[in-house]
């Protein structure tokens, strides 16, 4: 009977019983983030310093300041809210430190700074971090209890409230001096362009540069190669399920390929859509968050399929250039329904007339969204 442990939620994974536990998982996530952070510092600080194009030294090292302050703010907010709520019987300072060690307060802040425009005003960033941390995580009871991804709640709050601050904040002073970059991020220039053309890729230094990531964009999002390294590490360590990123990116690739063909464009178009913006980062670090994504394989595949469609919907049909954050938060909700349904399927163990309605609804939604994406996404 030892195999069947009856414990109260949250259940992170069976790993709690074996060697791996949440703290090693979170350590692995941090390690996987290192390449992206390193590249962000190289691109936004080292290159700027080397080229000597900056108005002040504060401006040059601004990304490092945000990279330190945002996780710190999030940690402080976590400590304060833990103290105020007195959760799990925290009485002394020592208890608080112990609790902080296992609640991973730095992650929401770190993620938010990595998916936000680089030169966003500091107070805007910190307010968004605080909102993401407190509203998205602590009000729900802290680590493991949240139903929305806290970092994405903060990011959505930022986009909703401070939209006027977000426009040029993507560009370094270095990038602003180069003409080709004057149209902001690749996705914004695509949204602004009247028709799709490969010039957009060439303006940003070709497909290879999009892969490397030396173009304007959020701190941690631009370098697909660095994210890929992190992803491989996480998959090898079995921290994340490979199904979610692979199916997610595959769906996006497939739909944008069809849209590209209809518009008479080549393979560059789907590649461009996947390499730019936060898709890769979202697919690896955000969509796979164990607390907010479905728990079963089938559920995860359904989740990732809809996620890909939604991202295409918000990007190519909607009037926002990005759309990854919105689609992942949306899927956090739909994921709850998927999770419930798939669990029920597994308990009943076979598809009967009675319990197939969920699959039918899913398929109808899937097809409808697919058709809508393809019909409306063509420019």
């Amino acid at each position: 009977m030892e195999k069947y442990l009856v414990i109260k939620g949250p259940y992170l994974r069976s790993a709690d019983i074996t060697k791996r536990n949440t703290s090693t998982i979170m350590r692995d996530v941090l390690i996987a983030l290192l390449p992206s952070i390193a590249f962000a510092i190289y691109k936004n600080v080292v290159l700027v310093l080397i080229n000597g194009i900056y108005s002040s030294i504060y401006h040059a090292i601004y990304p490092i300041i945000t990279l330190i302050l945002a996780p710190l703010t999030s940690l402080i907010c976590e400590a304060i809210s833990l103290w105020v709520m007195k959760k799990r019987g925290i009485k002394t300072f020592k208890d608080l430190v112990e609790e902080l060690k296992v609640s991973y307060g730095i992650f929401p802040g770190l993620f938010i700074v990595l998916i936000s425009p680089t030169y966003i005003p500091l107070w805007v960033l910190l307010v968004s971090v605080a909102v993401g941390e407190v509203v998205g995580k602590m009000l729900f009871g802290g680590f493991g209890q949240n139903i929305f991804n806290p970092a994405l709640v903060g990011r959505a709050f930022m986009a909703f409230t401070f939209s006027s601050h977000l426009g040029d904040a993507y560009l370094t002073s270095y990038e602003l001096t180069i003409d080709a970059y004057s149209a902001a991020t690749p996705l914004t220039s695509y949204a602004k362009a009247g028709a799709a053309s490969i010039d957009i890729v060439n303006n940003y230094g070709g497909m290879f540069n999009l892969l490397i990531g030396n173009y304007p964009g959020a701190l941690g999002e631009t370098s697909t190669i660095a994210i890929l390294i992190g992803a491989i590490y996480l998959i090898i360590k079995d921290v994340i399920d490979w199904r979610i990123p692979v199916v997610y990116l595959g769906t996006m690739f497939f739909i944008t390929m069809i849209i590209g063909f209809i518009m008479g464009q080549g393979l560059w178009f789907p590649l461009f859509q996947i390499l730019t913006g936060g898709v890769a980062f979202g697919a690896v670090f955000m969509a796979t968050e164990p607390v907010t994504s479905p728990k079963t394989h089938l559920g995860r595949i359904m989740y990732a399929l809809l996620l890909g469609e939604l991202t295409v919907l918000f990007r190519l049909v909607g009037n926002m250039p990005e759309g990854v954050a919105t689609s992942i938060v949306t899927m956090n909700i739909v994921g709850l329904m998927i999770n419930k349904y798939v669990t029920k399927l597994r308990v009943e163990d076979k598809l009967t007339k009675k319990n197939c309605y969920g699959l039918v609804i899913f398929l109808v939604f899937f097809v409808l969204l697919f058709v809508y994406d393809v019909v409306m996404g063509v420019k």
Binding site: M85, Q145, M320
Partner: protein, 231 residues
């Protein structure tokens, strides 16, 4: 009215201008009845039906009786009476012809009379001076929007029951926080609707061209690419 306009009105009333999250109508029932999935579905189906019927009847009454006899100031009192009696009639009809449905919906029907969603939508359609088609779509979209939010909410609240919430946030407070996040989310859906080709606009342009006024070269009061605003 073409298909694109229909979809646009529906999407904007369901998500962007959601009856609960953005217009603040029907909050009481939304917080009170969204605890369980079955009750949320029952309530929202009743609201959906009543909202469409009530808006239809009140719109007709307003435009063909009240406006004609110059009794516009009686609209609130008349509307609420119409809604109350409509709910009564629906209740009687369901009781007689579908007793099983009555069993599941019956308890929600009396609550609907004082649900401000119904009166709110009825008043808004006449205040904004909507035409018949827009009115109907607006009512349908609002009802579906109510349904969507209630359903999502009941799922989330059932899930939250199993989570280890702080004691202070249990129940209504956390529901309001989730509503806040949902409202941010829905407001981000702007633009997923098709871009409407405005019929009136098209008519206007043909009219202008027919009258040959365009040729005055100093005056460019009408341009073809104002669509570029539509990023």
């Amino acid at each position: 009215m073409n298909m694109a306009q229909v979809i646009t009105i529906l999407i904007s009333t369901i998500f962007i201008e959601n009856i609960i999250l953005s217009q603040f109508l029907g909050i009481c029932s939304f917080l009170g009845v969204s605890k369980k999935r079955s009750s949320a579905i029952g309530m929202s189906i009743s609201v959906l039906v009543v909202i469409i019927l009530a808006t239809l009847v009140t719109w007709l009454l307003y435009n063909y009786v009240l406006v004609v006899f110059d009794l516009v100031y009686l609209k609130t009192i008349i509307f609420i009476l119409v809604i109350a009696s409509l709910v009564q009639i629906i209740e009687i009809i369901i009781k007689k012809f579908a007793p099983s449905l009555y069993k599941s919906l019956g308890i929600y029907l009396p609550l609907i009379t004082t649900n401000c969603a119904i009166l709110g939508i009825a008043l808004k359609t006449v205040n904004y001076g909507y035409g018949f088609g827009t009115m109907l779509l607006y009512a349908i979209g609002s009802g579906i929007g109510y349904f969507v939010v209630m359903y999502i909410f009941s799922v989330i609240r059932e899930e939250l029951e199993q989570r280890n919430l702080p004691k202070a946030m249990k129940g209504i407070p956390i529901a309001l926080v989730v509503a806040s996040i949902l409202a941010i989310l829905f407001s981000r859906y702007v633009g997923i609707a098709p871009k409407v080709e405005d019929e009136e606009e098209a008519l206007r342009e043909t009219y202008v061209i027919e009258n040959d006024i365009v040729e005055d070269e100093n005056i460019i009061y009408y341009d073809h690419n104002y669509e570029d605003l539509n990023i």
